[in-house]
Symmetry: D3
Subunit: 188 residues, 6 copies
């Protein structure tokens, strides 16, 4: 495991990591061609690793959203929360899934600068508000999402992606999870 | 299932809910004497239900913190995020676990008004900062936690509780999950 | 007098307190069955005590608002300002006057979660704005209050309750006035 | 009475105003050489007029602070709250009482630009914090006031001036009380 | 040169100042009857002096706006940024160019309190937003400016004045440039 | 000229552009191998073009700072202000001058995540504060810069870079200046 995967907690050695988690790490490594640092980082606490990645899997595999929309949400939220790991790693994923090499830098900096459909603009306005001031969200916000065509399930899924990355951003920042060098350049 | 468990998404009928989730709901109902509304609410999306409650279980069952400390964190974070369900339901849990009937109202309103040890004051100052401005968290903040005696694992666990409730608060607010009447009064 | 009525200033002894103030304290004690701590606390400075409670009396006795509306405003403002004494003590009064045991916790946490008429929702939106950013209040805000049916005098009275509790919240926080134990539970 | 004393509520005619209030208005008029608009404005609601000015009288007549310190607090707080009436009218009073023609503009804009003693700098830092984020005030803030030499009573009096002008600023803004032309120029 | 022109950097002696800059300073001195402190202050770095005043000259001499509108923008922006030099010096210019002795104090404190045309109210709302939260500016903001009659060039010029004074305010605050005594009183 | 250099103002044709400005644009084009969009964009108003680029030239050519430090400041400030053009274009310049391919993404997202010397950390903390809350800057902030070794001239130059990019960010955002495709990838 890469010792430098995070700056503020010790990364466990392979032998300390339970088999199911090692297996997941190895799959990810094979997929990506390298081990994204969030995996060895979360292996610090196996019970958290399992729940965290189950949630991420549910968000991307059992969803009414396009994968590209999910990554748009993630990059926007992570930009608002100033989270380096998530901006860089999910920026790479967004470039891949949206086949849009500039979109990640635009959303991470300011989603208002991207060339978005009205629907996606509303989606990201909502993501920003739910991130910055969750207590101010009200019926009007959900009404606007419905008016641009989002279904009930899509709204749940949008809220879930925003909420889970409000978790991820905070853990990545506190743990100082470092983006792998590969992510910075990928799919540009 | 209580149809009014949440205001903005439909609560599924028992027959629509997968068995493992029904089983969990029934266990919780037996434990509490009523079904806390967060369970039928999250049953709206079973894959999310499983990951969400696995995370919560991990936070309370595989932890270096006292249960009372966990609930102190939850109530403080939920107060900052203005989340009704979490303030009311976890306020009840805090009254039970801390055996301190007034502490929940104090932390939900303003943790500076509670009679806390220096260690717990630092813990809740950190929880507030990580909730309000995650991007401003830095080495100094972790140093202060260490100086009042928190171990590395305790710091991970503190950050995890704060982070997961930054997820929970947002989902409960968007879904408008309603606190059960029982929670308002419990253990006062 | 309860020495612990406030944490940051000395509470005067009965013999140090002028007669008119003692009389008022005794009346309040008889009314409530205990002495609400704000009375011995403000007795620290008799000239302030008199003006402060005269203003409070004027707000509740010479008003175009229902008492329940006044307490809704107080609890909402005090929640925004994170003031423990006012949230807890006026939360009790709101439960009594509105005959609504859950409303106080809802307004103190987030007035958007309460089941409010359109008129009361506008009233509390205005209270929140006047508390959080008084300099941004303008004609549009008053127009919205008029559109949901508030008269000129009602608007003055709403603004006055909000303004006086922006005073009360600050004094109670600086002085660390402690809510009496009785208030936490009352009328739940 | 000057009909234009405020922009958003009707100013009462002399014959509608109770005698004790008329008497006070006439005294103020004689003192100042004109009728400061806050007096006819508050005459809109006599019970509020009496309590409001009793509080102001208590702040300036029964105080451990110098009058010039009181006006420094008022102008600083009113600048933070963007309140025109209070900035202009109390700016004039500050120029008179401090015999410092530039101080009012400095404090209204940014108290950090004024040439202040350490004691007064702490006092105004505290005033700014108690105005902007009352819920964040804690023991450290009071300790700093004590360290620069303020007594317990002086701290109460400082907090009271700040708190009352958090009331005044809000009422003056909502009512759109207009500063008299005379105040803009006075004692420059 | 006035040694006290700024508090945090040394003001150069006349012999250290290049001729073109001395010439400009002398012209300004003749115009105003005194040397506005921003000129000796910026002479600290001649290359910055030239660019800074060229920009200011361009803003006032090659513009689609009235001079009075420019000063309205400057005073409003400088009030938002709490910049003493710019509020006081440009407050004087606004009083002169608008022939409105009270307007400067109104805009510096809160532009909502001034008696403005709809067009000027939109202009200053835009100035406030572009100053406080530049990243939130979007098409809607420009549309509103167009709807109240501003041309494309006027919008560029408005944005330029706001932007340049976001520069000026920061330099004046960091350098602690002192407003000349003359500005405080001028044209009242 | 690239018509799409900015989204909200018309880009002038070559024949409309004065010779000195065309000359500068042609030089820049030769240097970079393409025409950075900020040049045709600012050609909209030649008098502004000249002052704007004179200031930029002064910042980089007559400076006590390293070029890499200047670009660190620019990218950090532009990240705080959510300005796409400046983040992307100056991100490229930072990668070139610092020979650090990841530094730009780190500073644009959150300078706390970069591996900085104490001196550079203080420099960027100051840049963030001067950008976010210019009115709160005081002697303590300058003292900290001096304590980590910055000279008086370096502090002036740091403040100037921050201030000028508070101008640039606002103009680029209002005009919707589009980063050239080349910048996104350059020197990664």
């Amino acid at each position: 495991m890469n010792e430098d995967a995070m700056g503020r907690f010790p990364v466990p050695d392979r032998e300390e990591i339970p088999d199911d988690i090692l297996e997941r790490i190895d799959e990810e490594t094979e997929d990506a061609g390298f081990t994204p640092n969030v995996f060895p980082a979360f292996a610090y606490k196996p019970s958290h690793f399992r729940a965290f990645f189950d949630y991420h899997d549910a968000l991307t595999e059992d969803t009414s959203l396009e994968r590209e929309e999910i990554e748009m949400l993630v990059v926007t939220v992570s930009g608002v929360n100033d989270c380096l790991y998530c901006v860089v790693a999910h920026g790479a994923l967004l470039r891949i899934f949206a086949e849009a090499p500039k979109l990640a830098d635009q959303l991470a900096t300011n989603h208002r600068t991207a060339d978005l459909s009205d629907q996606h603009r509303e989606m990201l306005d909502f993501a920003e508000k739910l991130t910055e001031s969750p207590g101010k969200v009200d019926d009007e916000d959900l009404k606007r999402l419905r008016e641009v065509g989002f279904s009930t399930e899509e709204i749940w899924d949008i809220a879930s992606v925003v909420s889970v990355f409000n978790l991820s951003n905070r853990m990545a920042t506190v743990a100082d999870i470092r983006p792998n060098d590969e992510f910075y350049d990928m799919a540009r």
